[in-house]
């Protein structure tokens, strides 16, 4: 039983995500393998680079112990990444022709798909082929977006995990110990309102929603709510009205 569970788990989670990215990345590559255009290749290489960086970061997180399971798997992943890298480059230089070596080097891919593709190529006309290529380019683009999205969520989640480690869910403790934090929060809140015109509010709201306990995070996220609040306040301010005066008058009459 390890006490430092939260940090370890954060890393582990990162890691599983990475594994998944990698798999989809790989599928995307193999789907397009036979016919990369320059633009597609560029994109894939960018993703590839990102992944490599993430793996390297993770490796840095890992204990240096060579028996460490995470380290072993990460090293394997790194090798695989390198393999993909090489294969992409290779296929780019020698398009279409290398069917055999491709089947050989790839153990994960569904061969059926590639065979279907080949048949289609033989049967269909040039227009079909062009359309297909366009579709595939879109899929690849989509995938890339997905990957970076996942990565964002991923780092958010890791952030939360980290935050929660220190957060005591007690109003009293936080009121007493966080006078300074609140001051900082209020400052941030003002800043957030100054940023109200920006389109980033959606993301900020998400961050604000999840980073509980840190006033800075919350306030940053609440810019839009805050603005609505002001408007609401003004409106009800007019409607609301003379409650106290009435009461005071009534009292005076009594």
């Amino acid at each position: 039983f390890q006490m430092n569970e939260s940090k370890r788990l954060g890393t582990e989670l990162k890691f599983y995500r990475l594994k998944a990215h990698l798999r989809s990345h790989k599928t995307a590559i193999s789907d397009n393998e036979n016919k990369f255009d320059e633009e597609n290749l560029q994109r894939i290489m960018v993703v590839q680079k990102q992944l490599e960086t993430v793996v390297d970061n993770l490796l840095a997180d890992c204990p240096t112990d060579s028996q460490c399971e995470a380290r072993i798997i990460l090293t394997k992943l790194k090798d695989e990444l390198l393999l993909i890298h090489l294969r992409v480059l290779h296929n780019h230089k020698n398009p279409i022709t290398e069917d055999n070596s491709y089947a050989e080097s790839n153990i994960y891919e569904e061969e059926a798909t590639s065979m279907m593709m080949q048949q289609q190529q033989k049967r269909g006309g040039m227009s079909d082929l062009a359309k297909e290529m366009k579709d595939k380019a879109e899929v690849s683009l989509q995938l890339e977006n997905d990957i970076s999205n996942i990565e964002a969520i991923f780092s958010d989640l890791h952030h939360i995990v980290h935050e929660q480690g220190d957060f005591i869910d007690s109003i009293e403790e936080n009121v007493e110990s966080c006078v300074n934090d609140v001051k900082r929060g209020q400052r941030d809140l003002r800043e957030a309102v100054q940023h109200k015109g920006r389109t980033t509010t959606m993301t900020a709201a998400m961050v604000g929603g999840v980073v509980v306990g840190a006033p800075a995070g919350v306030t940053a996220g609440s810019a839009i709510v805050g603005i609505l609040g002001t408007i609401g306040g003004v409106v009800t301010g007019f409607i609301g009205g003379n409650w106290f005066n009435k009461h005071a008058k009534k009292d005076a009459q009594e």
Binding site: V175, G233, G237
Partner: protein, 559 residues
Amino acid sequence: SLITLFSLFTLFNMVDVLDTVRLYIKEMVHLAGPQMKIMLMDKETTSIVSCAYGQNEMMQKEVYIFERIDNGVQREPIKYLKCLVYVRPTPDNLHLLQEELRNPRYAQYYIYFSNIVSKADLKMLAEADEQETVRDVQEFFIDSIALSSNLCSLSIPRPYEHTVMSMSIQSHRRSTEAIIALLLSLKKRPLIKYQRSSEDATKLAQKVGEVIRREAQLFEETFLDTLLLVIDRFEDPVTPLLNQWTYEAMVHELLTFKQNCVTVEGNKYVLNERDDDFYAKNICSNFGEIGANCKALITEYQQKANTHKNVESIADMKQFVEEYPQFKKMSGSVSKHVAIIGELSRLVGAHNLLEVSELEQSMVVDGDQARTLDRLKTLLAHPKTTQGDATRLIMLYALRFEGTNGADLRALVQKMRSTETTETLMALLKYAGTARRRGDLFGSANPMEITKRFIKGLKGVENVYTQHIPLLQQQLEAASRGRLVDGVWGVVNQEAIPATRIDHIIVFIVGGATFAESALVRQWNERRRSQPGLPSVTLQATHVHNTTSFIDQISAMRQ
């Protein structure tokens, strides 16, 4: 009246003070409506809210900032926030609130007082609201800290005046207000009985009766099924001096709760039954059971941790992400309880508490003086025995064998070499000695009790560390059977409620309660499930003591 009384009572049958507090706070937030909110509280209402809601939970209700109105910190204006004010209606708070309203920092104010507000005060407040930012003012009668479903505390560790053995005027007023608010929040107009031997209990009971008569309008729609029993700690000075072996009581005894927060090795942990299943299940378990249950918890956790390692497919991943928050919560709970139980167990070993506790129990329950004295001398000389435990043992000895122990006691106290201990001991005997107590604390005068003890002795004791039963048990039994003797118990308002109609007992303890008594009440209320005729019990007290704070309270009297 514009102050509408808010009733939620019909929503629940069983009296649960914590639930009541939660419902009222929920309603406060609800009344303020959507949008971002700040909550402005005073020292005491901060504790009340804090014990009823976690910060996470409040943030989900869009209350993002929590501030004290009374800590002198210059708050900066945030004009687009709604402000929820929940404070006690004290002159200081009303003054601060007027200041606030004259220069409002927030868009709108929703003001909730924890008790009755006078019309004059309200008028002053209305006059201060020049900018007309106040949207709502109500009295929500939540005026003491609900620590669990059956226990609330005023958190006044030293209610006594230094020189006299009666409560200070402030503590007295505060206690009256807390009782009135509790009655109003539960919608009860009680029959009031009090311990005649205690001046504090007498005065308090009479004052409460007086307020009920004066505020007849507020008490109009209340139920006549409750007995309010005002008792004084000095009738049972033994319970707070004993080591405890149930989880909640042990944590307080050895680590000391600050409301529901406890610090272990610099880490702060919140223990509450609402979202900590392990704690809820083990709150009354004894130390042995807690150890076993904690081990089971760890095993379960490890199994879960292992299944989470096998994430192969996207489906696995999805499942992992779905289960992850639950898993994370469990991992937090495991590390918290392991830290706390680990520390408890270290202290039990380091201070030789099993032996100390065994002596305490046999001294109080069996009362074999010669044998006790021998073991006491041995234990006092033991290197592991702390100063605090030595003091408590001597105090128990002094109380248990008062009048027959003069020379022995002097010898024991001399060994302590502390004039402070001597003085505190004198104060204790003055506060709760035989001269002051009316009840039969050690069951030595009652032949029934002696017989019971004899039979128990023959049968053998189930658990040597938990033999003692607080006096409260006897008092509750007498109250529920309508056997509170007139000579001992005074009655305030003569609205005759037949004993058969008493469905609920509120016990107010002047001078503080203990978690041992709370556990007793918990078990009592459990029994009610199978015995529907049994009245349910709520405990309210000036403080919830452990031995250290109880001795502090007595020590403060001697100055």
